[in-house]
């Protein structure tokens, strides 16, 4: 892997993401011509003379925020998945494995059951994610802070998995006792739902922050994959690096879940697809996962809201339905 090859990969994925974004803005129950999409996004001299531009309004206030929310969620989830697969040195790791999403979902469903406003549901999700992050930090402090001599990954994974299972039980309990009228909304949230409304500036900022925090450490991540002992022998500050990965991955997951609910499958599958296609160099993989994950969720959401328009499907259903066969095909047809 060289810097030039990585730049080429990022450029291709960036163009792909832009194409999906353009399609998301143009397609839907009311098709909008590409020229009018551009006019709506960049209102120049014509804008003053068109007061009741319905198509422009749809593009600006409905489709653009939604597409951007999808991009941010996908990018954050794929990035978090790639990071956790390195941290836990386990191909099965994904953003939800350490319980961040479970905490967010539990708190968010509580808020929904109580009939709170949408912003309060988001705030609860965020609080739940943080509660879960702190819980794991406290319980696994030996693994994340102290840097014990033996390989810490399996215990950290088990700690997180058990906490995730605990949240799962609470979620089931909430769904069982929830009033009939609220159940549908709660299920949508659980599968992943991008029906937000405003441009997700906080998620966008979280994405940029996460990339900025991890990219300088990407060469260290490559080394960490060879085991703690090998990484320390090569001069990697393993303990600090683990804590950094955990915090960045958890905060990225929290931002994604707060924005779009627990959209499944992206965090597991997108990093693996890129690995199978392009190799496992974290310097290339982290930005590539963000771009590809973003494009994947935007694309899935486009399908989710057009396939049975005007009704909508939860985006998580599409990511899983499309992702499972594609991923299995790639896995089984790879050459050694």
């Amino acid at each position: 892997m060289s810097a030039r090859r990585a730049l080429a990969i990022w450029a291709v994925l960036g163009v792909l993401a832009l194409l999906v974004l353009a399609a998301s803005l143009a397609l839907g129950s009311v098709p909008v011509a590409p020229a009018r999409v551009l006019a709506a996004l960049f209102p120049t001299q014509h804008a003053t003379g068109a007061p009741a531009d319905l198509a422009g309004e749809i593009v600006r206030t409905l489709r653009l925020p939604r597409a951007l929310a999808g991009f941010c969620c996908g990018a954050l989830l794929a990035l978090a998945g790639a990071l956790l697969q390195v941290l836990l040195r386990n191909p099965l790791a994904e953003p939800y494995v350490l319980g961040v999403s479970g905490g967010a979902a539990t708190f968010a469903l509580f808020a929904m059951m109580a009939g709170c406003a949408a912003w309060l549901v988001d705030a609860s999700a965020c609080a739940g994610a943080f509660a879960s992050i702190l819980l794991v930090l406290g319980l696994a402090r030996g693994e994340l802070w102290r840097g014990e001599p033996q390989d810490a990954s399996p215990r950290l994974l088990l700690t997180g998995a058990v906490i995730a299972a605990g949240w799962g039980a609470v979620i089931t309990l909430l769904l069982t006792v929830a009033p009939e009228g609220r159940l549908r909304g709660m299920l949508f949230w659980l599968t992943g739902d991008l029906n937000g409304g405003t441009v997700p500036w906080s998620a966008l900022a979280a994405l940029l922050l996460a990339l900025a925090a991890m990219m300088p450490a990407a060469p260290q991540l490559n080394v960490l994959l060879r085991g703690d002992a090998a990484a320390r022998a090569l001069g990697v500050p393993v303990t600090r690096l683990r804590l950094r990965i955990y915090l960045v991955a958890s905060l990225a997951t929290a931002a994604a879940v707060t924005t779009g609910g627990t959209i499944g499958f992206i965090g597991l599958v997108v990093p693996h697809m890129l690995r199978l296609l392009l190799g496992n160099d974290q310097r290339m993989l982290l930005p590539a996962a963000a771009l590809a994950g973003g494009a994947a969720v935007m694309g899935a959401d486009l399908v989710a809201r057009t396939v049975i328009a005007p009704a909508q499907l939860p985006v998580g259903v599409i990511t899983a339905l499309a992702g499972v066969p594609v991923f299995l095909w790639m896995l089984l047809h790879r050459r050694r």
Partner: protein, 293 residues
């Protein structure tokens, strides 16, 4: 680059004590390892070979004493600068994800990377050279997950070589190799530790269970008895039948055929004589894996 290549790689253990739980593995051990020397660390299972190597590499704090590399305590070295001076091959390598052999070897160039951490052409050249030294040139594009245990171990050794540190610590580098490759690796390591014209000397320590390979390729040996004691010195003075018998808890005898020598387990008839050479009760160390005679 050149400043590391000419640095010495001198390793000094000063009154170090190693403990595992309540057991003392090594007590008050002082020794200096010099460039140009090839050390074999021998001893029974659980005697503390891995612990000692990790301590000498600066990855583990000794219970007492300190380790110095090139005259500076290991704790005072910045981790990356230390990794430019000493390489450690751990006993196990993790391969959860597939990667090409070349990429795995290139990882050991980490201490030499700068900027955004992309390898330069000199890093690639070093990796290809290290692979070639161990006869792995045609493996560069292979997936590490497709390698056999022995091949994977040679790749790990190539990676350690490509780190180009003047001090190299290897934890059981020969375990999974067949005899042919054991000798090939030892010859490559011997060439690495001492350039043909003796213009560049490096320090090499490796742990090993094959005393005969050690006697043939190492210049010095460090024999651990796992109960706090250690003998260090020229390999033929340390790996003697009497000392090795006592450390491993089984009588060994040295046989000769011309210039070739080998330490072999003594037959039962001789074993009584051999065990009588050492004082009663001393013949079996607490870690002895064999107490059947």
């Amino acid at each position: 680059m050149s400043e590391h290549a000419t640095s010495t790689g001198m390793l000094s253990a000063q009154r170090i004590t190693l403990r595992a739980g309540a057991r003392t593995l090594l007590a008050d051990f002082t020794h200096t390892f010099y460039p140009g020397e090839i050390w074999c660390i021998a001893g029974p299972n659980g005697a503390g070979k891995t612990t000692l190597l990790a301590t000498l590499a600066g990855l583990r704090r000794p219970a007492a004493g300190q380790v110095e590399i090139d005259g500076v305590p290991v704790a005072d070295w910045p981790p990356v600068r230390l990794a430019q001076r000493r390489a450690l091959l751990p006993q196990t390598a993790h391969d959860a994800f597939s990667a090409s052999v070349l990429d795995v070897v290139l990882l050991n160039r980490f201490p030499h990377l700068s900027g955004w951490g992309w390898e330069r052409s000199e890093d690639r050249i070093a990796a290809h050279e290290a692979l070639a030294q161990l006869g792995l040139a045609e493996f560069a594009a292979r997936d590490v997950l497709s390698l056999s245990g022995g091949e994977r171990q040679r790749v790990a050794l190539a990676a350690t070589l490509c780190q180009q540190a003047p001090l190299m610590l290897l934890d059981e580098p020969l375990t999974h190799l067949d005899l042919h490759h054991q000798i090939g690796c030892l010859e490559a390591l011997a060439a690495w530790s001492c350039e043909a014209d003796r213009s560049l000397l490096r320090t090499l320590l490796f742990s090993c269970h094959d005393l005969n390979l050690a006697r043939r390729f190492a210049t010095h040996a460090l024999l651990l008895d796992g109960a706090g004691g250690a003998y260090a010195g020229p390999v033929r003075d340390v790996l003697t039948p009497a000392r090795a018998s006592r450390a491993f808890g089984y009588p060994l005898t040295l046989i000769r055929d011309g210039d070739d020598e080998a330490l072999v387990p003594a037959l039962r008839a001789n074993s009584r004589d051999a065990s009588r050479q050492s004082p009663p009760g001393d013949g079996t160390s607490p870690n002895s894996s064999n107490s059947s005679f």
